[in-house]
Every structure is written in structure tokens, then in C-alpha cells.
């Protein structure tokens, strides 16, 4: 849940990047980190295994600027995508304001994508959230690879409700900020509605 501090005039929101193992969640955050001015970001924390797989979470705090005199901060988290880290994924979803689902566009990862969306839905329900009601966007990542499915095919399985969707290549950064902006926008508009 966002934290609104009238005393220090700050609003903090939490965004979680979800998706199957190796789909590129950590790479998304790394790109955002690299491209953000030093004064607008904090340290990026990665709790990872020796082989760079996310173990607990990545964390990147962004302080992008002010809206109507309120400092607006976004805390970006990734979950560990590997199936057996489910307990950790549940913890990271606590207090989430918006979710980015990062799909791996490669044909052979389709089953893993589908399983991960289902897992997201279930874990959100456990926390008292409904995936169809919270700010949510989908990113089709790894569009640079040869063995990928078409966006139509991906959409049919992964985005039946037509939330905002983006094609991306997280390694080059294509689509990364578009995705982030879209979920941030949904969150702030949700706040506006006073949810």
C-alpha cells in the first residue's frame, strides 16, 4: 500500500516485477538504474545467488520528482522467478501498489509464463488483492531473440483482459521505461480516485 506522508509531503509506492525465471526482471531494474540520474535513485540492492539468480528480491528506490508539491517515490522490487522460491514471492507482494508481469517471449518459455501468471493471481489473492483490480501491465520481453512467439499469441494466453502491454528488450532497454511509466501512471491515477 502506498504510504502518504503529509508531514514530509511524500508519497511512496511499491511496484513489483513478476514473471518466470530468467525472463528479465532483474535486467529491467538494472537498465532503469543505469539510466536514472544519480540524484533520483538510491542504491540498487540485489539479494542473489552466486549465479546471479534472484534469491529474495532486487530493490531499486526511485525519487523521480514532485507532483503538486509531493515528492513521489517508487520502490521497485523483483521477485525470484524460480518456481521453488514461492514463499519469498508471497512476501514481496505484501503491500504492492502495482505489478509488471515480464513475459519471456521465447516459444519454449510459454508454459513457464502461463504458470507464473497463475501463480501471481493466486499469491495476490492470498494477500487480499485481485489481479483484475490492481494497477497491472504486461511486458513481452526478449523481442530480439529469433525463436519468439508473436504478440498476438502471447496476448491470447497472458493478457486476456487487455491491460497495457509493451514489447521490450531489457538488455538494450527498449520498452523498459515505457513499461515502468505505464504502471506508475496506473498507480497514481488509482490514488487520484482515492482507492
Amino acid at each position: 500500500m502506498s504510504f502518504i506522508n503529509y508531514a514530509s509531503r511524500e508519497i511512496n509506492c511499491k511496484i513489483v516485477y513478476y514473471g518466470p525465471g530468467l525472463c528479465g526482471k532483474t535486467t529491467n531494474l538494472q537498465f532503469v538504474y543505469q539510466k536514472t540520474a544519480p540524484d533520483a535513485k538510491g542504491k540498487m540492492i540485489s539479494l542473489a545467488t552466486e549465479t546471479e539468480r534472484t534469491l529474495f528480491f532486487d530493490f531499486l528506490p526511485l525519487a523521480l520528482g514532485e507532483i503538486r508539491g509531493f515528492k513521489t517515490r517508487f520502490h521497485l522490487y523483483t521477485v525470484p522467478g524460480q518456481v521453488f522460491y514461492d514463499a519469498s514471492r508471497k512476501l514481496i507482494l505484501k503491500g504492492v501498489d502495482g505489478v509488471v508481469f515480464v513475459a519471456d517471449s521465447q516459444e519454449e518459455r510459454m508454459d513457464a509464463n502461463v504458470e507464473s501468471v497463475e501463480n501471481l493471481r493466486i499469491n495476490l489473492i492470498e494477500q487480499g488483492y485481485d489481479l483484475d483490480k490492481i494497477p497491472y501491465v504486461v511486458q513481452y520481453n526478449k523481442r530480439d531473440l529469433p525463436n519468439i512467439l508473436s504478440v498476438e499469441e502471447l496476448r491470447r494466453e497472458l493478457n486476456p483482459t487487455n491491460v497495457p502491454e509493451f514489447e521490450a528488450c531489457a538488455t538494450t532497454g527498449e520498452g523498459v521505461f515505457e513499461t515502468l511509466k505505464a504502471v506508475a501512471k496506473l498507480i497514481l491515477f488509482d490514488l487520484k480516485k482515492g482507492k
Partner: protein, 163 residues
């Protein structure tokens, strides 16, 4: 929803800061932080500028979440106090009012016993303040009396954030 939104107002913010500043003195601590269970820093006092407070807040919340998960596995509700002992500095972490995390960093000028004792007293005061705070935001929500600044927010406002 799962957790009602945490909203902080001037009056309670001052009261909270007064409590932790008193705790800082009485416990002979170096730094004190209050962190929301979701990892957002609420406030801090003492030598805060020496620390990366944002990272500290996020990791503390992750720590509490992970040990909370462990607690459930063994049939406990949660571990309400955690203690990490270092060579010089120690961390005393406790849960206040079920949803806020109080972090006390201290060294050999203090002791675990003293910190424990003082934390206990301050926790009661903080619980009372957070209780009032929750009530206040609920009332404000019900009466629709929110000074929320975002009612007028536009697409451009958001685009400007990222430019």
C-alpha cells in the same frame, strides 16, 4: 484490502519523532528508524546521515517478512523481536502495533538489556499514536475529507516525472 493505507499527518509525525528521540537518548542508541512493514521508511533520528536509510528500510522489512514466514512455518504468529549482534554495532528490531518496525542501532555504549527495557516503554507510546493515526485516516476517508493532492493530477504531471 489487505492492509489499510498508511497515512501520516503532521501532528502524529511530531509525536512519533518525539518518542523516538527520547528513546535514542534513554537507550544510548546511535540511530533509530521506524519502517513500515512494506519497507518504506517512516522516520528516523540520530546519526541517520551515516546510513543508506532507504536500503536499510527495505532490507529490514524483508528481514521481518522472512522471519515472519519462518514463524508461521513453526506455528508462531510472528517473532516480534529480532536481535543482530555485530562486532561493534548491534541491531534491535521489533514490531510495534502489528504493522510498524522499530529499528534501534546501538554499540557498546549501551546494552541489550537497556535497549530492550526502553524499547518496551516506547513501543507502548508508539502503539497508541499509530492507533490514533489509523482511526484518524479511517474517519477522514469516511467523511470524504481528504486533503489529497492528487485529485487534479494529469497525464502530463506523470510524464514530467520521467522526463
Amino acid at each position: 484490502m489487505a492492509n489499510p493505507q498508511l497515512i501520516m499527518y503532521d501532528e502524529e509525525f511530531k509525536q512519533i519523532n518525539a518518542v523516538i528521540e527520547k528513546l535514542l537518548r534513554e537507550a544510548n542508541a546511535k540511530v533509530i528508524f521506524l519502517v513500515d512493514k512494506n519497507g518504506q521508511l517512516i522516520t528516523g533520528c540520530g546519526e541517520t546521515e551515516r546510513f543508506d536509510t532507504t536500503s536499510l528500510a527495505s532490507l529490514t522489512a524483508g528481514n521481518i517478512a522472512a522471519t515472519g514466514g519462518l514463524a508461521k512455518l513453526i506455528g508462531e504468529k510472528e517473532f516480534s523481536i529480532l536481535f543482530h549482534e555485530g562486532e561493534k554495532d548491534n541491531l534491535h528490531i521489533s514490531i510495534v502495533a502489528g504493522r510498524v518496525i522499530l529499528v534501534v542501532l546501538f554499540d557498546t555504549r549501551s546494552s541489550l538489556g537497556l535497549v530492550r527495557l526502553r524499547v518496551k516503554k516506547s513501543s507502548e507510546e508508539l502503539s497508541a499514536i499509530f492507533g490514533r493515526l489509523m482511526q484518524k485516516s479511517e474517519e477522514k476517508e469516511k467523511s470524504g475529507d481528504s486533503e489529497f493532492p492528487f485529485a487534479e493530477i494529469t497525464d502530463d504531471d506523470i510524464d514530467n516525472l520521467f522526463s
